[in-house]
Amino acid sequence: MSRNLVTAGVAAALFAGCSFEPEQPVLEHEPNAKAIAENVDLANSPTAQDQLAGALEMLFGTPEHPGYMRLESWIEEEYDPNQGSWNLSDEEFDALKASNRAAFAKQIAAIEAGDLDAVARPRYAPDLWRRYEALVAEAPDDLNATYADTEGTWRDELVYLFEGYYPSLTATAEFYRQQCNHCHGPSGGGDGSTAPYLNPRPRDYRPGIFKFTALANKARPRHGDLMRILEEGIYMTAMPSFRRFSDAQLHGLADYVELLAKRGETEILLALDYAADEGFGGLEKVQETYEFVLDRWEKAADNVIVYDGEVPAATPERLAAGQRLFLGAEGEGANCVSCHGPTGIGDGPSAREVDPETGLERYVKDEWGNEIRPRNLARGIYRFGRRPIDLYRRIYAGINGTPMPEHFGMQIIEADGSKRALDEDDIWNLVHYVRSLGERPLEVARHDTSGNEEHAEGH
């Protein structure tokens, strides 16, 4: 009999353990160890580190309840960075509505049919469901009655709730935990649990540097730049396309990544400013840093690189001019050869350096301290877009955080010996030449050994 009891007990325990929604540990922001270690005063003071964490929590919230602190002047101006939907253009909002219509098709159909009992709870968007339930609690029996705040009916208002859904930062933080956290980490440090197994490593958002944007002057990315990364993924890396989610979810993610990046930047700047005798300089200084960081992101849109005119065709003259620039050394040409090598396969001498610690040669490191290989242009595979304009932007402005520099305006020497600045036309020549390397790698290699003898002798 006692044996039967034990069996029953084990079975009950097994059933009890089978929860469909296991409890998740609460995420917490992790301090930026590298930034703290760089300031000796801060590294030696656990109290100051706690203060820093407290200041960041005040400004940006926690992973569970993220949100920007609103300054008094913002409240007066009715400015609120927590309302991501306010920044959408009309076209973006129309696209968002269409996407929500598809995502919530069943719910919207039920509301339009007047059958509120059939409106099922969506699988995501808990914030939307809370608002919906609150609104339904007040709804009259006749959905055609006029809704007080708008001209429309209650039915329209309920439909609009689904159609115009834009996730809150809190809802997105949960979504981030499910989809992004395992690579990018709770604070966006690129240090999630799968990160050590990836090459290239996931982006560390905290320095606020993003490699792939459409912008010049090392500007912070725009919302649209982050959206494009989420939609297209980054080719040949572990960052996939996230198009299977709705527009609203992706907009939310872009907003949340932006918050993590701004938080990380603020953290780095505050850590840098800390001094043992002055502390962080008081609340005012902290607010100043906060505003400085946010302001830098606001200005991003002024730096979009757009070519004024049509993409020129790849003529033999352009390819020849592009090759001259590609192979030309610093001060003479665009100096691509120094890293990408004469055939573009990424074997140039400047791509590698001697590690001061080990004394061994290795690839140079990027902003995040990871070894980075110059792109093998002969494969014709580009991380972020293969349109000519994408390559144009890479060459024009360089790639943030990597040794790939800005090329627009650098000094070159013409065939007749005159000096001038590298202009937009030169960049197109380079774009076409680089694309020709990827299209017909063998031909170019042959072509290159003949055209490169002079260059090889020069060394």
């Binding site: 989809q179 395992h182 799968t194 459409a214 649209g224 494009r228 939609e231 297209e232 993924g233 080719y235 040949m236 572990a238 996939p240 396309s241 198009r243 299977r244 979009v304 690189i305 757009v306 070519y307 004024d308 005119g309 049509e310 993409v311 790849a314 014709g380 293969r386 349109r387 000519p388 304009i389 144009y392 932007r393 694309r435 990827g438 299209e439 017909r440």
Partner: protein, 269 residues
């Protein structure tokens, strides 16, 4: 033990074993109404795959019901208090012949019935890989590139060249024309993946280093799920795509638009 208690135990045991075939059959009978059955078939050869599935399902179902029925009967019959003791017996050539020959014949029957479908889906590529099929498609419509953890679709340039600058690339979304035999070249850049479109009844592994031809003809417009059906790493669950079957003219318009977009000057970004 009292007679009543023994009787009740026998009833309970028999009913327990009877529940298995009853519930099993019930699951299948109500599956379609409950939405547990296959998704809609929209491909030209999907019907043959479904026919084979149904054929095997019926064979299995009949065997299953008969076996379970026999089991229930044996439980009921030989749990009687007055039933004789079990007898040990060894070897029966007759029985062994039957239970070897019947399944073998069934397997041979299945093997022959599926040959036509297999040849149609996996061997007779529309580019004339099998000579007795008319050449209906000259070149692949696109290259499907699987990688950890997404799908990329590369459409050749106007000359059918997959290496050129005018190759159109699309992540996640795969656009194909309706009512057209579509040949795709399946590739993987890292590990094994599997190209699986349930609505087309199509599944094919992507093997690194191989270019595997795959064909289908979608007969209804719409958007269908594309998923990876081979465990390919930690992100396998998120490796999804969408296949959009468009009317011929809309497909052509999409491709032309994508080609033009390649030469954008960046003003729309």
């Amino acid at each position: 033990m009292s007679t009543l208690k023994t009787f009740l135990l026998r009833v309970a045991a028999s009913l327990l074993f009877l529940a298995v075939p009853v519930l099993g059959v019930w699951t299948f009978v109500t599956a379609e109404a409950n939405g547990w059955w296959f998704p809609l078939n929209v491909s030209s050869y999907g019907g043959e795959i479904d026919y084979l599935f149904d054929l095997i399902l019926w064979m299995v179902a009949i065997t299953f019901v008969l076996t379970e029925g026999a089991l229930v009967w044996l439980v009921w019959r030989f749990s009687r208090p007055d039933s004789s003791r079990a007898v040990f017996s060894h070897g029966s050539h007759k029985l062994e012949m039957i239970w070897t020959a019947v399944p073998a014949l069934l397997l041979v029957f299945i093997a022959f019935s599926q040959m036509e479908a297999w040849s149609k889906v996996k061997i007779a590529m529309p580019d004339g890989t099998r000579p007795d099929e008319p050449y209906t498609v000259e070149k692949p419509l696109a290259e499907v590139y699987a990688s950890q953890f997404d799908w990329r679709f590369r459409y050749p340039d106007a000359e059918g060249n997959f290496e050129g600058a005018d190759v159109v690339e699309s992540a996640y979304d795969f656009y194909v024309p309706v009512n057209t035999k579509v040949l795709v070249r399946l590739r993987s850049r890292d590990v094994l993946h599997s190209f699986f479109i349930p609505q087309f009844r199509l599944k094919q592994d992507a093997v690194p280093g191989m270019e595997i031809p795959v064909w289908f003809k979608a007969e209804e417009t719409g958007s269908y799920e594309l998923i990876c059906a081979e465990l390919c790493g930690w992100g396998h669950y998120k490796m999804a795509g969408k296949i959009h079957v468009l009317p011929e003219d809309e497909y052509e318009a999409w491709l032309a638009n994508a080609r033009t977009a390649l030469y954008s000057n960046g003003s729309e970004d």
